[in-house]
Symmetry: C2
Subunit: 363 residues, 2 copies
Amino acid sequence: MAEVFSVIMAGGVGSRFWPLSREKKPKQFLDILGTGRTLIQQTYDRLVKISKPEHIIVVTNEDYFDLVHQQLPDIPEKNILTEPLRRNTAPCIAYAAMFVKAIDPNGVMIVSPADHYVGDVSEFVATLSAGVNFVRDKNPEALVTLGITPSRPETGYGYIQFDVNARHQIDGKVIYKVRTFTEKPDIETAKIFVESGEFLWNSGIFIWSADTILNSIKEHLPEVYNEFSGLEGEKVNDRERIEQIYSKVPAISIDYGVMEKDKNVYVIPADFGWSDLGTWGSLYENYPKDEEENVIQGNNVLVFDTRRSFINVPDDKLVVVLGLENVIIAEADGMLLIANRDSEQQIRNIVNRIKVEKGKDYI
Amino acid sequence: MAEVFSVIMAGGVGSRFWPLSREKKPKQFLDILGTGRTLIQQTYDRLVKISKPEHIIVVTNEDYFDLVHQQLPDIPEKNILTEPLRRNTAPCIAYAAMFVKAIDPNGVMIVSPADHYVGDVSEFVATLSAGVNFVRDKNPEALVTLGITPSRPETGYGYIQFDVNARHQIDGKVIYKVRTFTEKPDIETAKIFVESGEFLWNSGIFIWSADTILNSIKEHLPEVYNEFSGLEGEKVNDRERIEQIYSKVPAISIDYGVMEKDKNVYVIPADFGWSDLGTWGSLYENYPKDEEENVIQGNNVLVFDTRRSFINVPDDKLVVVLGLENVIIAEADGMLLIANRDSEQQIRNIVNRIKVEKGKDYI
């Protein structure tokens, strides 16, 4: 029977969370929720309920090999696939699929970002298992994605529209044929989406057989497929070969490059308390708050007359906050950000400016 | 001819400027204006244009003896009078007057706080000189104070009302008999004061002969005078004697205890660009500002979409401020304050809470 592999995509730089998240140690390698486990460790903890450690694969930038190895010591070193350049998700998935296929030509792959929040792990596992069974037993040609039941008209996520008339069931879960993928909408569009009941948030979590996704990439993204073809057997860990491939392969997302174009895409509505933790806002939502709706992390923080603020500072730092509302205060490695929460979209650009003005050491 | 002594009162703790100003090193010992000289050094620089270094006296808390000695090395050690306890200005002035009288029974004293801002030093010297000449040549019984011509209805200062009909001239300066002293008024009263043209800000800068102020203290504050009487000649530096005195003497200000009661009080209207630097607001007024009216001190501060804010952080600290208005951001010794500028009155109380909750090391 086909083995179930889990692929953790862990190449992001998380610049939106500067200065907590640094290029040297991005968000996925931080215990940003204060649970005692980093985000990638929590992702591993969830997936190891479905895949054996030797079938868990991490794709990451080569700068993060050591961090992955330290944080996930149970994964074989050879399962840490490192990318010399950032080329978005399609090349990353092609690479992982080649690796899986080399081990098990019938292998089924779960693909998950390293840095998401999941509240209900049992439900997460049950949903993924249904997807795995669908791909393995019912429809090996299917590309399956998890779609989160939206709780608000969020403009920070992409949406998946499903076909209410193409409804299947597997292991007590519903699975629909997908009609459309939509990029991040404006607020009016998001409201219409949510009210219609036909749209789900795009979680970026996928289930498919390695062979099927490679065929889809071959069909829709030959310029990606052709670079990776022939990367089989022993060659999947050949550094020189990988560098050659990445120097030529275009940067493109699996959503844009494959999922939006393929005819055989399915979505399982999922409801396990999910966030992509992609913004300070979504991070704020996932923390416990004090009576004034502040999230305070740091053992030496005194707040007075302060509301709806997000404070994350080192435990040994005495910080007094007085008379403020709706601000982010974050300090790490001696660098301090103080921002209006409504301005957080600008942080990524500011980090680019810091890189230019102050140098790489600060980002 | 009587010598001119200058007494610098330097015992304050400056808790309103926490964390820049610390109990271990208060505001007067900091180069808070970024001029290259601390506030007490600038005070010395002004007064040494009138008094010889050996006639400049500093009264301070005994904890600050070393700081004074380091920062003002030209003052003889014996001129640094240390108080074992904080007892407000009347005991401080009685002590200094005893010291002066022991050196020169006819000595004239200028008394000045250590931590004020003066813009026009020549005008400051000219004004003080007129006062000295008035006391020395015209009216040895006079208690003279400098009153700052108000530029706004400030509620943070006390006011001095002068008698428009009792006007004298000396060295090109006008000097009036004082009618009343008023504590910090509310805004409506302050407006009436300023519009009347009869009120000046109480600067806390005085000129009198040592003998005269001692007689006035004897008359109005016998409970202070009696403790200090007999403290003459060699005894003025007798630590044990001073400790005895301070353990018994009440805490009371010279304004409340003497100036408001005495009949022989004069004021010279002064206009040399003055601030008591008693609030973040007054400090803010005395700094150059950027186009968005921000005062930024620190070589690694990046501000975006931020206005009317006051940022004072170490030069080596990277601080990013985004989308804020009207805030104070101050960091020193690893302690951080972020406050709405309109809430600054609460800082003093908060520092007391820090002392209770976190311990003395933090204040």
